[in-house]
């Protein structure tokens, strides 16, 4: 029996481990599938991490090292190159590595911190051929930053997610020509600063309301056909244009990797593709917690660390038998708010609610209702789907709460 098993040794897994340790848990094991700790941060060599946490701009590996160094100092055990194949509702974990073979661990509590994967070309059903040269932006990032290889020289990027923008700059710095970034939506999915410093600095055009409709080239990409889309996202025939290129990078969304969570029977939210959780980040199975990008896709690693600490602290409480679950207040959303995390509140404490909106709205008022009564409101000059929002509900606001609803009013 291991008190706490953490699946994933990226920023979420490490933060959760440290928080659990600081809250008195000593019997911890981190299982990491890669050959080192740090997760996807190891290939994110650009800066911009840690401004909230550390008040300075760090690169991905530097941010990861702050946590890894601490994990090593405290002697928190971890196994690398170890892939968790399955978990059960009884918290038995089956994993594989070269040294232990296939082995099982019975855990008292589990923290899910497996992160997310990129949406692939197949999921988009882009027509045309299937040549070499179509990569997800993250795969290209790994090739360039960790392996030292160029996946191509003339590049079109579909999707303006942050990884795509970062790779536009990165490929340009390594001598590639990035011809365009096409974004299906009328607004970018990435941060404004990245459009400025990754595209504008390098004169790379961002084509909003555009998509790639066809891939050309039999063995290697020879070009793509792009088109403007109408308000329903449908390509407009007479706007089609051929762009010659040898590479198509996709930055079209991230999906939490919850295959093993599903196999354990954990309830998964269809919008976040992550588990339903309470404010303690406990899933539908008591003692199983989730945090980081496996729970919902974050835009900043700083928020991942913060969320993972919540999960770590509460896993520690669970192990000690002190986790409070004395009430049950569901949180609903209206159409303009796509989702919240958590989706339930089970203790009357100050609670931070993270959420994402469905569209770009200006002059929006966020309102929290208990039944018909507004118990909280705040205004924002602009909200966008790419930027996670956060509000804090004070404990006293929850005194008489039965069912909360978060809405957005736009004037």
């Amino acid at each position: 029996m291991t008190e706490l098993v953490i699946i994933g040794g990226g920023p979420a897994g490490m933060s959760a481990a440290l928080a659990a340790y600081e809250n008195g848990v000593r019997d911890i094991l981190i299982l990491e599938r890669d050959e080192r700790l740090g997760g996807i941060l190891q290939q994110c060599i650009h800066n911009g991490f840690g401004l909230h946490r550390f008040g300075e701009e760090l690169t991905g590996p530097e941010y990861a090292w702050r946590y890894e160094e601490r994990v090593r100092e405290l002697g928190i055990p971890f196994k690398l190159n170890t892939m968790v194949m399955n978990i059960t509702a009884d918290k038995e974990i089956t994993a594989t590595n070269s040294i232990d073979g296939i082995f099982t661990i019975q855990a008292k509590a589990i923290i899910l911190a497996m992160g997310c994967r990129e949406r692939s070309r197949g999921a988009l059903n882009i027509a045309g051929t299937r040549p070499a040269g179509v990569y997800s932006a993250g795969t290209a990032q790994k090739l360039v930053n960790m392996k030292g290889y160029m996946p191509g020289k003339n590049v079109v990027i579909l999707g303006s997610g942050d990884i795509g923008l970062i790779m536009a700059r990165r490929m340009s710095l390594e001598g590639a020509k990035v011809k365009a970034v096409c974004e299906l939506m009328p607004y970018s999915g990435g941060l404004a600063r990245n459009i400025e410093q990754c595209l504008n600095d390098f004169n790379i055009p961002l084509l909003l309301s555009h998509t790639v409709v066809k891939v050309h080239g039999k063995k290697r990409v020879e070009g793509v056909t792009i088109a403007k889309v109408d308000q329903f996202g449908k390509p407009i025939e007479d706007t089609m244009e051929f762009i010659e290129c040898d590479t198509l990078l996709l930055s079209v969304g991230l999906i939490p990797e919850n295959e093993i969570s599903r196999s354990a029977g954990i309830d998964i939210n269809r919008i976040t593709n992550g588990a339903y959780v309470t404010q303690s980040r406990e899933t539908s199975i008591p003692g199983v917690f989730a945090c980081g990008n496996v729970l919902h896709v974050h835009d900043l690693v700083d928020y991942v660390s913060e969320e993972a600490e919540i999960a770590g602290e509460n896993a520690a409480l669970y192990i000690k038998g002190e986790l409070k679950n004395d009430i049950d207040i569901p949180i609903e959303t209206d159409g303009k708010v796509r989702y919240t995390v958590p989706q339930r509140i089970t203790a009357k404490e100050d609670t931070k609610i993270f959420f994402r909106v469905a569209n770009v709205y200006e002059n929006a008022t966020i309102k929290v209702y208990n039944g018909d009564e507004i118990i909280f409101k705040t205004s924002k000059s602009k909200v966008a789907p790419g930027e996670m929002q956060c509000i804090t509900l004070k404990a006293q606001l929850l005194q008489n709460a039965e069912k909360l609803r978060i809405g957005l009013e736009v004037f």
Binding site: K147, L191, A192, R193, Q197
Partner: protein
């Protein structure tokens, strides 16, 4: 008088800034910023834009290692900086923060990862 519209890159907020400039290009006033650093950014961006460069360098064993400029360098020097980075070789082992090329356009190139 001229106005320049900018997007602040200091933090993930990405504030829309407006800088009022006089005939000599001197910044008179910055609006739209939500912090002091935003104003500084706008002023620099109009007079001498600066960028942090992150990249990788070849190591003595043939692998690559991530590096960065320890402070921002003039934006116009990015590609010159890249040429220096591309020509350099990092001798292992190195520790995070070790400077591998000194005096690069007023900054230094440091590794951002440990490597034995």
């Amino acid at each position: 008088m001229a106005t320049r519209e900018l997007i602040c890159i200091i933090c993930p907020k990405g504030c829309n800034l407006k800088a009022e400039l006089d005939e000599d290009g001197k910044v008179l006033e910055v609006t739209g910023n939500t912090c002091k650093r935003g104003a500084e950014y706008a002023e620099n961006e109009c007079t001498n834009p600066m960028r942090t460069v992150t990249s990788t360098m070849r190591c003595s064993d043939g692998t690559v290692i991530p590096v960065k400029t320890t402070t921002p360098i003039p934006k116009g020097k990015i590609y010159e900086c890249m040429n220096l980075i591309n020509k350099g070789v990092v001798n292992l082992p190195v520790h995070i923060g070790d400077i591998v090329i000194a005096d690069v356009f007023g900054s230094n190139i440091a590794v951002t990862e440990n490597r034995t």
